[in-house]
C-alpha cells in the first residue's frame, strides 16, 4: 500500500515537468489529509482486474437494460401518434376503371370528399389542350393536371366556397358550381365565376385497370 502511494506520488511529480518556483497557495491551504490504509480490509489474492471488469460489466448491463427500456418507451409513444389501421384503411379508395365508359363521369367518396373521375373522349382531350393559357385565371396546362389524358381525376370541391359542382354542365362543357356560378372546363380549370383556382388534383395512381386515390 505504501509502495503504491509513493509510486503515485512519483508519477504525479513526473507529470508536472515544469516545476513551480513560486507557489501561489498558502501552505496552510494545502491538504494534510492522509489516505487511510485499507490494507486490512482487502481480500487476500484479490484480482483487481477481475473485480474492476466485473463492476464495469454490471454497470454496462444496467445501462443496456435501461437504454432498451427507454427506447421501447419512446417507440410506444411515437407509434401511438401514427395513424391507426382503420384510418389507414379509409385513406385510400379503389375504383374499377373498366366500369366507366368513355364520356362518363363517376363520383366516388374519398376521405369524406367527392372525387370526380371522368373518362374523357379524344375530342375533349383536344379541347382541353387547345385552350390558350393566357385566357386562364389559374394557368395550368392539361398535361399538368392528368397522368393519363383520358382519365381526369380531381376533387369535386369548388375552390370558391366548397360546394360540389355539377358535371357535364356550364358554359365550357365541364363542371358548373350552382352556388355562385363558377364554370370549370373539361380539364377542371376555372374559366368564369368567383372561384380563384382550378379544381384540386388529389394524389392517385393507376394499377392496371384500377385507380387508387390516396
Amino acid at each position: 500500500m505504501l509502495g503504491l502511494r509513493s509510486s503515485l506520488k512519483t508519477s504525479l511529480r513526473g507529470m508536472n515537468l515544469q516545476s513551480r518556483f513560486v507557489s501561489s497557495s498558502a501552505v496552510a491551504a494545502k491538504s494534510t489529509y492522509r489516505t487511510p490504509d485499507f490494507g486490512d480490509y482487502l481480500k487476500e489474492n484479490n484480482n483487481a482486474d477481475k473485480s474492476r471488469t466485473y463492476a464495469y460489466f454490471m454497470v454496462g448491463s444496467l445501462g443496456l437494460l435501461s437504454s432498451a427500456g427507454a427506447k421501447s418507451t419512446v417507440e410506444t409513444f411515437i407509434s401511438s401518434m401514427t395513424a391507426s389501421a382503420d384510418v389507414l384503411a379509409m385513406a385510400k379508395v379503389e375504383v374499377d376503371l373498366a366500369a366507366i365508359p368513355e364520356g362518363k363521369n363517376v363520383v366516388v367518396k374519398w376521405q369524406g370528399k367527392p372525387v370526380f373521375i371522368r373518362h374523357r373522349t379524344q375530342a375533349e382531350i383536344n379541347e382541353a389542350n387547345s385552350v390558350d393559357l393566357s385566357q386562364l385565371k389559374d394557368p395550368q396546362t392539361d398535361a399538368d393536371r392528368v397522368k393519363k389524358p383520358e382519365w381526369l381525376v380531381m376533387l369535386g370541391i369548388c375552390t370558391h366556397l366548397g360546394c360540389v359542382p355539377i358535371g357535364e354542365s356550364g358554359d365550357f362543357g365541364g363542371w358548373f358550381c350552382p352556388c355562385h356560378g363558377s364554370h370549370y372546363d373539361i380539364s377542371g380549370r376555372i374559366r368564369r365565376g368567383p372561384a380563384p383556382l382550378n379544381l384540386e388534383i388529389p394524389q392517385y395512381e393507376f394499377d392496371d385497370q384500377k385507380l387508387i386515390v390516396g
Binding site: 482486474d49 477481475k50 471488469t53 464495469y56 454496462g60 443496456l64 432498451a68
Partner: protein, 69 residues
C-alpha cells in the same frame, strides 16, 4: 482472454463503453422480442388468429370484405 484485455477493449474509453452498451441494447431488444414472441405463440398455439383463420377459411371467406357503397 484475461480481464485486463476485456477492460482495455471495452471499458477503457467511455465512447467505446457507451457505444457497446447502445449497440448491444439493439441486439438484445431484437433477440428478447423474438424470444418472447416465439414463446407466446408456442404457449397459445391453436388459439391465435392465424390458426383460427385457417379453420374459418374452409367455410367462410367468400370475399365479404368488399364494401358496397
Amino acid at each position: 482472454m484475461s480481464f485486463s484485455t476485456i477492460y482495455n477493449i471495452f471499458f477503457k474509453r467511455n465512447a467505446v463503453f457507451v457505444g457497446t452498451v447502445f449497440a448491444s441494447a439493439f441486439v438484445f431488444q431484437a433477440a428478447f422480442d423474438t424470444a418472447v414472441t416465439s414463446w407466446y405463440e408456442a404457449h397459445n398455439k391453436g388459439k391465435l388468429w392465424k390458426d383460427v383463420k385457417l379453420t374459418l377459411g374452409e367455410s367462410g371467406d367468400d370475399g365479404d370484405d368488399e364494401d358496397d357503397e
